[in-house]
């Protein structure tokens, strides 16, 4: 076993509603949506109109800047509605599934013809290219760039995250194929990180041609950005690609069976879920279809595609995001609490700080809600951010450099190495209630505009 990397900084959120290892529902898709807003800084170009018939794998829209990058339909059916927002910005394309299972057949290369060029071509055509994100910036990878290496995390430490060992148990062949395919895209190898505590019994520890790493520690140790920072930090001018493990399986299925298959098992979890468990569905599935699992008795609840820290609130009419295999639901915190902040105990509230006493009950899980628990202030406490960011970065100084639009400082202090999810815990613990992920988003947007 290669070296174990032990991270001490970080925080596992003790939130109630972890999904039990069982499939409680198999969703036959009705209306699914493809959302350009799932992809950072994407300007979409529509390729279909309302009423068109599509198969699974038919291109729906393309990237205007790089029209080779296609986004394809996850199901067969008809284009139902094209939803636009302000200034006609494309928000989502809804596709009504006919459940006939018609799929575009891709002639995937095998044997010697399976080379870098043909792989990229097929990933682009099938609509699976967007599975590959690049660091810096966490945007869809540029197919014309050869990355330093490819990083994949098989370790989910985020709050209520779907357990990869469970959801991907039946996909080992697809993952093996996917890893082999990805290995041909880079010289630097495919790096797979496992949880050091579970590595010995992990189903993922026997793939060939993969560089293994073992991490130990609280969230965000499972974030691929944190892992890269410890193994092969990104400097100016370098590119690393990252892929979520369940999307590696989708890539593998393309090269095994020649179809675009986004079926996935997602976790539905959180304090406002009746029966936290797993659901079989596909990308873009509607929340309406799994609404039986939500507990509306809580009053207002928030439904999030993704996790509590960096997911997107989609609402009951929303859809599952392209990169997500988790739906979290929790009560809204739109209530007043008399003298809340002076109450000495508040045992039902969690705090990572010792100004409350929740640290005395490390095993307790909490019914968290969306209350901000205070108003926004200027930065006051300076050392709280550092404690939850296990990276060689001075977070406070990076945030301030972004606020000051100081490009050079941002570069020097590590803007290339982080995306929002890596600093989400900084935002969670911030006593000044500053929107740190928004600050980082702004910094990344600024860098993208400045460098292009």
């Amino acid at each position: 076993m290669s070296e174990q990397i032990r991270l001490k900084k970080g925080l596992d959120l003790p939130v109630k509603g972890t999904a039990l290892r069982k499939i409680s529902m198999t969703v036959v898709p009705d209306v699914v949506a493809l959302k350009p807003t799932n992809f950072r800084s994407l300007t979409p170009k529509m390729l279909v109109k309302e009423g068109d018939t599509v198969k699974a794998g038919t291109p729906i829209f393309a990237d205007k800047k790089n029209p080779e990058i296609l986004f394809t339909s996850p199901v067969s059916g008809t284009v139902d509605t094209i939803v636009r927002g302000e200034k006609r910005k494309l928000l989502e394309v809804r596709i009504k599934s006919d459940n006939l299972g018609a799929a575009v057949k891709f002639n995937v290369p095998t044997g010697a013809s399976l080379n870098r060029e043909s792989i990229i071509k097929h990933l682009l055509e099938s609509g699976l290219w967007p599975c590959i994100k690049q660091r810096p910036y966490g945007i869809i990878a540029d197919p014309s760039v050869t990355p330093k290496s490819i990083f994949i995390s098989a370790m989910a430490t985020g709050p209520l995250a779907a357990d990869p060992e469970y959801v991907l148990g039946g996909e080992l062949d697809a993952i093996r194929k996917g890893l082999a395919v990805l290995g041909k895209l880079t010289e630097g190898g495919v790096h797979l990180s496992l949880d050091a505590d579970k590595a010995a019994s992990s189903i993922f520890n026997k793939f060939d041609g993969v560089v293994y790493h073992y991490f130990k520690g609280p969230h965000p140790a499972g974030n691929v950005g944190v892992q890269i920072n410890h193994i092969s930090p990104i400097s100016k001018g370098e590119t690393i690609w990252t892929v979520d493990l369940f999307l590696v399986a989708a890539i593998g299925k393309l090269f095994l069976h020649g179809v675009y298959d986004t079926s996935r098992i997602i976790a539905v979890a959180g304090p406002a879920v009746v029966n936290p468990s797993y659901v079989k569905c596909c990308a873009g599935v509607s929340m309406e279809q799994i609404s039986d699992l939500f507990n509306f008795a809580h009053g207002n609840i928030r439904i999030i595609s993704g996790d509590l820290l960096s997911g997107k609130a989609v609402g009951r009419e929303g859809f599952l995001g392209f990169y997500d295999n988790l739906v979290t639901a929790l009560p809204e915190g739109d209530y007043y609490e008399m003298f809340g902040w002076v109450k000495p105990f508040r045992l039902k509230k969690f705090s990572s700080s010792r100004t409350y006493f929740s640290w005395l009950m490390p095993r307790k899980k909490y019914n968290m809600d969306t209350n901000t628990n205070g108003g926004e202030r200027a930065f006051v406490l300076s050392d709280v951010y550092d404690k939850v960011l296990p990276m060689d970065i001075y977070p406070l100084y990076l945030f301030k450099a972004i606020l000051a639009d100081d490009i050079e400082k941002m570069e020097n202090l590590g803007i290339y190495e982080i995306i929002e999810e890596d600093v989400a815990l900084c935002e969670f613990v911030c006593p000044s209630k500053i929107e740190i992920q928004s600050i980082v988003s702004r910094g990344i947007e600024l860098m993208i505009n400045e460098m292009s």
Binding site: A313, S353, T355, Y356, N371, G374, L381, D383, K433
Partner: protein
């Protein structure tokens, strides 16, 4: 829903945009959030938030100050009783001290919070909690005999010049409480220093602090170590009892709000300089011969170390920087105490000076991180 909540909801529209009293919205908001944790929910970014907020942080600091405050109240009466030979009982001394300190607090909070509310209103911000702590600290670091109008001026100076013109809590360069004291110290030195200001209610009584005595030579020190540690000595209201301050330090370190690194390194800096002075002392009776650790229990050293140097806004903000920052505060304090004939006490000036240089220290520390990162790029 409670009656109070109903009442608040009823009068809220009056203060909101378009309401008759909308110019008082910040004030209303401050009282509302004082009574209730607001119903605001997360919009962007994280969906859940830690339950700690600045109100909670500031309250915790205030709790940490309480032991020093209580002892200070008692000590006002105790020193008065000693000087006047009044034969007071314990509770009489406490009551005497209480009556003396109440006007100081009234002035501190009315003036300070008044300015805070007004400037929040002008800027259209929420009222910041920072002054709750500053206002509690200021009466503790001045002599109990400070005239109230001087205190009012000092508070106004500290809040306006020291904080609000920089943008309020979180933006200031110097610790506002210390700035108030520095203002008094330089504007009205005769009321802030010397032998006659430390004891309330006895005109012309000469009660020198240990620091003033030792500056004459070690043999002039008339207080025992235990008196100095427990705090039965003249001095600014809250600074005398090292024991009470240590209780506060425990609370701050335990909750993680005050940096233990700063506290330890400040003590270390004072001890190192104190020991060097001991070695270099020309005669066993010179001020330089004071045992190094006496510095920790005399004057405002302990109070400054625990409550002032650790102010997260004005201290160094990098972890390595904190060691340097603290060490220099401790060292400078002892240097000023021993080698400056003008002022017997050096803590205030040392902290204000290091507040000024904290950004430079951080700049150097962050610069080293940047260099390391650039080097990393070259070696890979």
């Amino acid at each position: 829903m409670s009656k109070l909540r109903k009442l608040t909801d009823k009068i809220k529209p009056t203060f909101e945009k378009g309401g008759k009293l909308s110019f008082l919205y910040s004030t209303f908001e401050a009282f509302e959030t004082f009574l209730f944790v607001p119903n605001t929910v997360t919009v962007k970014g994280v969906h859940v938030r830690d339950s700690v907020d600045l109100k909670r942080v500031m309250t915790t600091v205030m709790i940490a100050i309480v032991p020093s405050l209580l002892f200070g109240i008692f000590n006002i009466g105790y020193q008065h009783n000693l000087a006047a030979n009044a034969g007071m009982e314990f509770w009489e001394m406490v009551w005497y001290g209480f009556l003396k300190i109440i006007p100081l607090y009234l002035v501190s909070y009315i003036v300070g919070l008044g300015i805070e509310f007004a400037s929040a209103q002008i800027r259209g911000h929420e009222v910041n909690e920072g002054y709750l702590v500053t206002g509690l600290l200021i009466p503790l670091i001045v002599p109990v005999t400070t005239p109230l109008w001087m205190l009012a001026l000092a508070v106004a100076f500290a809040v306006i010049i020291g904080k609000e013109i920089f943008g309020g809590t979180g933006m200031n360069i110097w610790n506002p409480a210390l700035l108030a004291r520095a203002f008094l110290f330089f504007a009205y030195p005769s009321h802030m220093s010397g032998d006659k200001v430390w004891v309330a209610g006895v005109d012309g009584f000469s009660g020198a602090t240990p620091l003033a005595q030792t500056s004459e030579g070690l043999s002039s020190l008339q207080y025992s170590v235990s008196d100095m540690f427990f705090g039965f000595i003249p001095g600014s209201v809250g600074e005398t009892s090292t024991l009470a301050i240590l209780l506060g330090a425990v609370i701050l370190i335990y909750t993680g709000i005050g940096s233990w690194k700063i506290m330890i390194s400040t003590v270390g800096g004072a001890l190192v300089l104190g020991l060097i002075a001991n070695l270099a002392a020309p005669s066993p009776d010179s001020a330089m011969a004071i045992p190094a650790w006496y510095h920790l229990i005399m004057g405002g050293f302990a109070f400054g170390t625990v409550f002032m140097a650790t102010d997260p806004v004005t201290a160094s903000q990098t972890e390595h920087g904190k060691w340097i920052y603290g060490f220099l505060i401790g060292a400078l304090t002892v240097i000023i105490r021993l080698f400056n004939p003008g002022y017997p006490e050096g803590m205030m000036l040392a902290i204000l000076l290091m507040n000024t240089f904290a950004p430079v220290i951080d700049h150097i520390v962050v610069g080293r991180n940047i260099k390391r990162r650039l080097k990393r790029a070259k070696t890979v």
